[in-house]
Subunit: 304 residues, 2 copies
């Protein structure tokens, strides 16, 4: 038996004093109300309503039951509504994963605009490039460079990050300016970026006129955080391909100097990734929408 429906029906019958009106207001056939209440009485082993075909009168047991049943029914409705409400006026905690660079450069500076629009959402930003257990940590979505290996995740491409080959002025003064990708491989040091998930370093890419050269040079230092990566380059540990948006100021000041500018580096596609929930919560949807618009403003590679 659907006890909650039965309780609803009973409460309504008591309030309207009438099976027919109760059935109408619940938008169900009278027969169903009759059935529900008969089953409820069978379940409780008590007569709740004394009824002739003309009148319905609440028994003492029924009156007792009504008080609490009405309260419970309204509690359930309230609970249902509170979740529906949460859908329309999203709130609560939102767990997001991204790299520190994106957080520091784009998300955190712009977050004020998001708070204004959705004051009830708290955002927990997890920094790192580790593949997290989305389920176990209740991660709602992640901002990731490169297509995700996990095919079961939904990935939405949102931007393209340009890489720029450069090195610290101090390094070039000491080690000389490389003439070609092969020169880099043979006679220079790099700052290497490794991806913990893959367990290997990312080679540098040099592309020109359809020719592609991968360089996996010697390095003193390898990191898996773009900010530290830039720091390592600035410290003169070698040549590297860094996201162009991160080094604009350093290039202008001359602390960093472009290298092999006639060769273009790869670009990194940026994805928003989230688990394939049947019902994507509205909280996540509005954040993803906001993030998409935010990142649309990243200048296309090569236009910086």
């Amino acid at each position: 038996m659907d006890q909650l429906s039965a309780m609803r029906a009973f409460v309504r019958v008591v309030e309207t004093g009438n099976f027919t009106r109760a059935a109408d207001s619940l938008q169900m056939p009278k027969a169903t109300v009759t059935n529900l209440i008969q089953n409820l009485e069978k379940h409780l082993q008590t007569k709740l309503l004394n009824r002739t075909t003309r009148r319905v009168i609440v028994t003492t047991d029924g009156a007792l039951y009504y008080e609490r049943a009405a309260q419970i029914v309204s509690e359930v409705d309230e609970l249902d509504a509170s979740l529906a409400q949460a859908q329309n006026n999203p709130g609560g905690r939102l767990r997001v994963e991204m790299s520190g660079a994106f957080a520091d450069w784009f998300v955190i500076p712009a977050l004020g605009g998001f708070y204004e629009k959705y004051p009830d959402i708290q955002i927990d930003i997890g920094i790192g490039d580790r593949t997290v257990d989305y389920l176990a940590e209740n991660v709602d979505c992640a901002l990731r460079g490169g297509a995700p290996a996990d095919q079961s995740l939904i990935a939405r491409r949102v931007a393209e990050v340009g890489l720029m080959t450069c090195a610290a002025a101090s390094y070039l003064k000491r080690a000389g300016i490389p003439e070609s990708p092969a020169d880099v491989q043979a006679n220079h040091h790099c700052v290497s970026y490794f991806v913990a998930a893959k367990g290997r370093t990312n080679p540098m890419t040099f592309r020109k006129d359809g020719e592609e050269i991968l360089v996996d040079g010697r390095y003193h230092c390898s990191v898996n955080d773009a900010r530290s990566y830039v720091a390592a380059v600035l410290a003169g540990h070698g040549i590297a391909q860094v996201p162009d948006f991160m080094v604009r100021e350093e290039l202008e000041r001359g602390d960093l100097v472009p290298v092999l500018a006639e060769w273009s580096a790869d670009t990194i596609p940026l994805y928003i990734v989230y688990p394939p929930n049947r019902h994507l919560s509205n909280k996540v949807r509005v954040f993803v929408d906001w993030l998409v618009r935010l990142l649309a403003d990243i200048p296309a590679p090569g236009q910086s």
Copy 2:
């Protein structure tokens, strides 16, 4: 959808962390649990549980829902139990109708024994011979003389009350002692008992050797309460047939004197009457049982 079952299932899944264990403990197939929770999520438009085939993890929305749902489910269970409890340990108010004579002579004096056994039952005794609206007044049962006219009521015969023809000594001294029923009809006054429901007085009956004579004599005073009826007889208003148990003392003292003792009066069958409830509440059952045992001790007519 059976939302309450769905909430029960969800709560159990959260507590066991596992669909299979939840299904086992609820004694339903796993398929049903799956279905219920999918429907619940559809209804709430929110994903409550993140699940792979190996793990089930509660979402933030799910955790929120769990707290309140668990509370509501336990409230419902408690409410159900409280009504079942009331069945086993009957309590509350019990509305009973009976005549004042039965109340004063039998029920009220013996009620102490009932209270001891069922301290939680409060008995509201309605005095009167009016046919009450059982439904409207929530009357649980009634003790009535004579078979009830209303065929829809359940009547249980519990005792037989003997009537005794007598008159006050003072009356007989004044009016003389009647020789036969016809003498009563012709030359005496009666104290008459009228039944409000029937709208007419009850004739006296005289029976001997298969002969039956009805006497509907002249009267100065007619009442519809046995105690007042006896009082009228004692006051010398005439001859009457009164319940024998009510006049034992008066006969012994000689205030009342038997009349036409060779003619026997009718006896009045005593019924417990209650509405035909599909589920007779335990409260009523225990009272009726008690009443039956109590009235079984009324001496059979003619043995007093």
